[in-house]
Amino acid sequence: MGAFIAKRLALSLLTLLLVSVVVFLVAQVLPGDIGRTILGPYATNAQVAQLDAQLGVDRPLAVRYFEFVRGFVTGDWGTSYLLQQPVRALVVGHLGDSLVLGLFAMILIVPISLGFGVLAAHRRNGFVDRIISITGLSLIALPEFVAGTILLVVFGVTLKWFPVSSAVPNGDPADIVRQLLLPSIPLMCVLFGYISRMARAGTIEALESDYVRTAVLKGLPRRRVLFQHVLRNSLLPSITVISAQTGYLVGGLVVVEKLFNYPGVGSLIYTSATGHDLPVLEAAVLMIAALFTVANLCADLLYGVLNPRIRLTSE
């Protein structure tokens, strides 16, 4: 088990390192002259040079990358160009609000998707299975802003059940549902497709295994076979899919938060990218990559704990 954890940890760190290089290159190198990008085409060369010196972007790349990583690791994330606020508080605050929205969507949709996935596998190739599969397939394809716009027009504008612009909810459960249900549905649409498909595939595989045949042949009731023998094995692959979706979720949050004016990390990334607010952008993206990596690491470890076969073969 120790070697397994060490290997996964090393891989995660390597991924994070790669991501930090990508973020740094895209944010700092791609724009060419950062001072020019911020000041626009009408600034004089002297003004641009002065801003570049002030931001420290006239130094060699390797030095800047090292500073960037050191700052991030030691907790000194710099100051926002646009808002003149410390970046860390800004990013952590927005990240928390996004987490509330993302978790709300996950908590609602994971059990629903698993349930429908197992049901589809149970009724394999039948009518119910086809309906679930086609629904999942259609929902996956729906861009978040399309689903969100339709929901806004129907439930926000026409029926007036929900606000058209969502604020961070106060602790009241009714307010949580009121503010978060509409923006979380577009995210849930996409998640439902992925998770239910994986749960279905896993369950079918388990249903076809020898141990299930044995259980059926020795006369156990079908329900008992399903709940005690099949599910423990069939839901394992879903863990990986669910954790992999945290990466998707963040992309989806950018869109949903813009559509619903929700002040999360997605809208922070969008505004800092369009405003060329590099310290905020880099910190936010790196934080998300870190979160994503940790989620995947946890999923891998959980998978290893629940499934001894993986743990043993990798050693």
Partner: protein, 300 residues
């Protein structure tokens, strides 16, 4: 050439269609796939809707009742006999803009998909055929790519390079390349140890010739399926980027852009955003149903 464990080779032989995929064997197989497709109502419905939007994207100048840019004095009007789907904040006909708006998404997405297929097939053939170090390095890069949400990458790149249709095409095409390569690679791996490849090699054919003339025709099935699946994602992504104002700019009647701009009048004129949203929904669902039908038919 790297030695392959016998287990893999045996599996590959069992999975492959006939060695060489001779013309005689291919003909009934193709007919069988076509028959399977026409029996699937989901595929047929998807194909019809997709066909409708493709025809509309090409022939909209003849279909649209008005010039999509023409400004009428009545602004923000609901659906009426004069304007079947209403007018927008500048007094433009929503129906005409809806019909004209299909062309941008149906240009950008297929172009991006074609670019991704081109790069991905080439990379997949090379990594799958030669394996070794190239393969290892390429697949690690693919993994790093997958760890990064595409929308975030797009926001990063397009805000620095500047929003434009061409940049969207290149960005989506480049990000698709490793993903397509992965699929093609695994299909090539199943072929590379078959007898017909060994025969070609003994005959003295060069590596590139074997990849393109021998292996490629035998992995076309998975490539076509991957292409349709990618097209769905390309529509999803390019529409999303339009919505984020990172793609095509005003005054294009593009659906994503129209929805983004229409948010300002959501409360007073919801029809401006509702109809393009429904149009996009039918298009993406149609493409996904077609992709699913194709993959089921090729697998069967």
């Amino acid at each position: 050439m790297t030695p392959t464990p016998p287990a893999t080779a045996a599996l590959a032989v069992g999975d492959a269609p006939g060695p060489g995929g001779t013309a005689r064997a291919a003909q009934p197989r193709r007919r069988q796939v076509a028959r399977g497709l026409f029996r699937s109502p989901a595929f047929l419905a998807g194909a019809l809707v997709l066909l409708f939007w493709v025809v509309d994207a090409i022939f909209w100048p003849f279909l649209a009742p008005q010039d999509p840019q023409k400004v009428f004095p009545e602004i923000l009007q609901g659906p009426s006999a004069a304007h079947l789907l209403g007018t927008d904040n500048l007094g433009r006909d929503v129906l005409s803009r809806l019909l004209a708006g299909a062309s941008t998404v149906l240009t950008v997405a297929p172009a991006a998909t074609a670019l991704g297929l081109l790069g991905g097939v080439a990379l997949g053939l090379v990594t799958g055929y030669y394996r070794g170090l190239v393969d290892d390095v390429a697949m690690r890069v693919v993994d790093a790519f997958l760890a990064f949400p595409l929308v975030i990458l797009a926001v990063l790149v397009l805000t620095t390079l500047g929003p434009s249709e061409l940049n969207v095409i290149i960005l989506i095409g480049v990000t698709f390349t490793p993903l397509v390569a992965r699929t093609v690679r695994s299909a090539v791996l199943a072929q590379r140890d078959l007898d017909y490849v060994a025969a070609a090699r003994l005959q003295g054919e060069s590596g590139p010739r074997i990849m393109v003339a021998e292996i490629l025709p035998n992995v076309l099935g998975p490539i076509i399926v991957e292409g349709t699946v990618r097209l769905g994602y390309a529509i999803f992504t390019s529409a999303t980027l339009s919505f984020l104002s990172l793609g095509i700019q005003q005054p294009s009647p593009d659906w994503g852009l129209t929805i983004s701009l229409g948010q300002a009048n959501l409360q007073v004129a919801p029809w401006i955003v509702l109809f393009p949203a429904l149009a996009l929904a039918t298009l993406v669902v149609a493409v996904n149903l077609v992709a699913d039908g194709l993959s089921q038919a090729v697998k069967a």
